[in-house]
């Protein structure tokens, strides 16, 4: 009898213990579910907030302000030479890209001659992606300074000075705005407060970003990318290596039987006077 009683007691206690253990397990499970749910909610919220914030922070693909005289549907292109020239040379360059520096130092006299003869209309896309891989701001500030020079009607001269003084790719000299302003002093017409403030305030930063975003979406992956009437010619056109002589030859071949263009003042548009820049760029109210 007493044995039976003891047995009953034990099983009652066991049952109680079991129940309590079950309860604890359930509450542990609930806690885990709550924590897991909170974690997923935090992550989802972070991603949504991130996308919204970055959307607001990103610069538009269509710039709100572009340098005077730029062309194309979003005003991303800097034109040099006669717009009615029979051939178009399209150049994508980054101010910090060493291959672009080599290209410019080798070809700019030839390109200038072709422009001045009304043989080519050159379209520059000043891109700025070297900063991404090497850090710094030389590509972006250099591109902005080129935009400032274009705005003042001195793109071609400043462009040539910039590439002649290009530092080593890893040195971020162009990230120093004063260095860009000092280079501007070598170009008659850029040694003034207007150019300096344009460089210092990074006036065309939005335009620079828009030009780069346009390049990002293009099928071109490296600089310099050089196209003659849409056909890539750098480093080769078909089997032929590019050289100043070959460039002239290819342009003449393409222009055969066509009327040459009439280049404006020194191949630059707007004409290199401060009034031209002002009339093309009315101050916003």
């Amino acid at each position: 009898m007493s044995d039976k009683n003891r047995e009953g007691k034990r099983s009652a206690r066991e049952r109680m213990l079991e129940e309590r253990a079950e309860q604890e397990a359930r509450s542990r499970r609930n806690k885990k579910l709550v924590v897991g749910g909170a974690v997923l909610a935090v992550i989802a919220a972070a991603v949504v907030v991130g996308v919204v914030v970055q959307n607001q922070r990103s610069k538009p693909e269509t710039p709100t302000a572009a340098p005077a005289g730029t062309i194309g549907d979003k005003n991303l292109i800097i034109p040099v030479g006669a717009p009615d020239a029979p051939s178009t040379l399209t150049v994508y360059e980054d101010p910090r890209c060493p291959a672009c520096g080599i290209f410019e130092r080798t070809f700019s006299p030839t390109v200038d001659q072709l422009e001045d003869a009304g043989k080519v209309f050159v379209n520059y896309h000043i891109v700025s992606f070297i900063d991404r891989s090497l850090g710094g701001s030389g590509s972006k500030y250099g591109a902005n300074a080129l935009g400032c020079a274009q705005n003042a009607g001195h793109f071609r001269d400043f462009h040539d000075v910039l590439y002649r003084n290009q530092p080593d790719e890893t040195a971020d000299t162009f990230g120093n705005k004063q260095a860009l302003i000092d280079l501007g002093k070598q170009v008659p017409g850029l040694d003034n407060a207007e150019f300096q403030s344009c460089v210092n305030s990074n006036t065309f930063a939005g335009w620079v970003s828009a030009v780069q975003q346009d390049f990002d979406k293009s099928s071109f992956k490296s600089t310099p990318t050089v196209l003659l009437n849409g056909t890539p010619i750098y480093p080769k056109k078909g089997d032929e290596q590019i050289s100043p002589e070959n460039l002239v030859k290819w342009v003449d071949e393409a222009n055969q039987g066509k009327q040459l263009g009439t280049p404006g003042s020194h191949g630059q548009s707007p004409a290199p006077t401060s009034t031209a820049a002002e009339t093309n760029n009315p101050p916003s109210p």
Binding site: K31, V39, Q54, N55, D216, K217, K221
Partner: protein, 170 residues
Amino acid sequence: MASQQAEHGRVSGFRRAVDGPAAEWFGLAVRLGLAVVWGWAGLAKVSDPAEAAQAVRAYEILPESLVKPVGWGLPFLELALAVLLVLGLGTRVVAVISAALLLVFIAGISSAWARGISIDCGCFGGGGTVDESQTTYLQEILRDTGFLLMSAWLIYRPRTKLSADAWLAA
């Protein structure tokens, strides 16, 4: 018989190592290490949204409509994981998501390598097309595999010292 006992000793030694306080301290180190990785990776991708988008676009995997949302959202996902790892909150869930994300990264890098395109993985900022001589696919995959092992440890043993999880369980 003796060998069986030795075997048993080894196994329980392993058990002790994996379950004991030393393992929880080790788990803390792994957790904070992984937090630093995600924090660094996330912060490096926040400053320039266009660069982040281009890093994604360069893989040539996602359609253009998804390039920006992924490029913009990913760094914040990484930062959220970093914060949760520092807190030690929901460590197992966070470790599972970390491992899944790392598997996606490894798959993406492998795919780029296999297709012969030349890109920087953009793992810690940067990204986009690079010269063929500058690709470091193997190093990138090995590095992510290391991070994957860290995540795997935290999935296996999510109990770590100085964690919100431990505090909540107490």
